[in-house]
């Protein structure tokens, strides 16, 4: 189908975009990469009167490392740029390893990091990575700027903490400590589809080799990415060996009520959780880096 008629405006500056957002309010949608918005418009699930196109605002795209060691990614940065970035590979290997799982090349060439996060599909990779890394999402409006923790940003299926007048402008990932390891895995019907279930994990060990801080995030399972606290607790303090890992991963479905849809039943997702948690942790804990 074809999108319903709308008017298109492409401001040259962030300030103009923010003013337009106030002016048009609920009648407008923000166009970044369009890889989720345009299908939704083609299916007439969204029929905005205005599209505020951010693509002329060059300052919204870019990848840089701050003096603090944080990795800062502009909201309009395309997936392909993140995927190919040597800085990202160094400064956040979990994010780098998640990128090839995001849809397909042609989608990654247009789709943006900010667009994916704001769309907040519960089966998307980047929200899970942000949650695992305690990323900060920087929002801006005519009222000013504020930082939102990833844990508070994702509110439910396609729902975020962003106000109607706010734009996501930047994502900041805390510095990646030496020795932190990661794992990333997902199951989908076809490579590039949204995940039926996926796991993003990071693990740190202390000097004695015991597991310290562990982050295990599941996506595709409930209405938003979710930390598997029972797995994290069970893993902490262990030697991170195969037995410890298997035992900890066994708690992956604890306290969760997985959703069911036309891709998979709730039972299937419950079965996938411990298996994928174990595999992701095995990636993180195997002696040699992949």
């Amino acid at each position: 189908m074809k999108p319903a008629p709308f008017d298109h405006v492409a401001p040259a500056t962030l300030e103009e975009a923010l003013a337009l957002l106030v002016e048009h309010g609920e009648n407008a949608k923000v166009l970044a990469g369009g890889q989720s918005l345009v299908p939704v418009m083609a299916l007439r699930l969204a029929t905005p009167a205005w599209l505020i196109d951010l693509n002329r605002i060059a300052s919204l795209a870019g990848i840089r490392q701050l003096d603090t060691g944080e990795l800062a990614i502009g909201a309009l940065t395309r997936h392909a740029a993140v995927e190919r970035s040597e800085l990202v590979a160094r400064a956040n290997p979990l994010l780098a390893s998640a990128m090839p799982w995001v849809a397909h090349t042609a989608i990654r060439n247009r789709g943006t990091v900010g667009g994916s996060l704001v769309h907040a599909d519960p089966a998307a990779e980047l929200p899970a990575v942000c949650l695992a890394c305690d990323a900060t999402l920087v929002a801006q409006s005519v009222r000013g700027r504020r930082a939102i923790a990833a844990a508070a940003f994702f509110r439910g299926m396609f729902e975020t903490a962003l106000g109607a007048d706010e734009l996501l402008v930047e994502i900041r990932f805390p510095a990646w400590p030496d020795g932190r390891r990661h794992g990333f895995i997902e199951i989908a019907r076809r490579h590039g589809d949204f995940a039926i279930c996926g796991i993003a994990a990071t693990v740190e060990r202390d000097r004695a080799g015991r597991v310290g801080d562990a982050r295990v995030v599941a996506f595709g399972v409930v209405d938003r990415p979710v930390r598997l606290a029972a797995v994290e607790r069970a893993l902490a303090g262990t030697d991170g060996g195969e037995d410890a890992l298997r035992s900890a991963a066994g708690a992956a479905a604890d306290g969760l009520t997985p959703r069911a849809d036309h891709h998979a039943s709730a039972e299937y997702r419950s079965e996938l959780l411990p298996v994928l948690a174990r595999r992701a942790l095995a990636q993180a804990l195997t002696p040699r880096r992949r």
């Binding site: 999108p3 298109h8 166009l31 042609a106 060439n109």
Partner: protein
């Protein structure tokens, strides 16, 4: 109704201009305004890959861009891969390997594979399969397509060597 817009862009090396509504997708603009019907419109929501074109050399879905967004861009469509009436080596490899049956998906696959070979002139079978994963073909079972791309890459490497 929103006013139609005038846009200018470069398609297959040629300057083109045309009018479009803001809601006109790039693929509809190519087919209906520019009469470049080689790019096919399939699912119209970004899943099938039939409408893939090269935007500044990179494959993108032309059903997921509005024509107004392509103002000033440099596009290559399947018509731009070889001079009119001719085929390039990739297209000949597709013919030799029967890498198409109905042909509906072929323009999108040719543009996608053109970008792959530009980026990675010596792809492995796995590289080709990965790059192809966003293009749906309902006829061939993909094997002949993978073969054709690998054969084309070998041919180019042979000529270069």
């Amino acid at each position: 109704m929103p006013e139609p817009r005038e846009i200018e862009l470069t398609i297959n090396g040629e300057r083109r201009a045309g009018r479009c509504e803001p809601r006109t997708t790039l693929v509809d603009f190519l087919r209906e305004t520019c009469a470049l019907t080689g790019t096919h419109v399939g699912c119209e929501h970004g899943v099938c890959g039939a409408c893939t074109v090269l935007l500044d050399g990179a494959p993108v879905r032309s059903c997921l861009m509005f024509a107004v967004q392509a103002a000033g861009a440099r596009l290559t469509t399947v018509e731009g891969l070889a001079p009119p009436g001719e085929m390039n080596d990739l297209q000949r490899a597709f013919q030799e390997h029967h890498a198409l049956q109905c042909g509906f998906c072929t323009p999108g696959i040719l543009t996608t594979m053109t970008a792959l070979l530009a980026d990675n002139p010596t792809p492995t079978r796995e590289d080709v399969r990965r790059a192809l994963s966003g293009n749906i073909c309902r006829c061939t079972g993909y094997e002949p397509i993978v073969q054709a791309v690998l054969d084309c890459a070998r041919g180019r490497a042979g000529r270069a060597g």
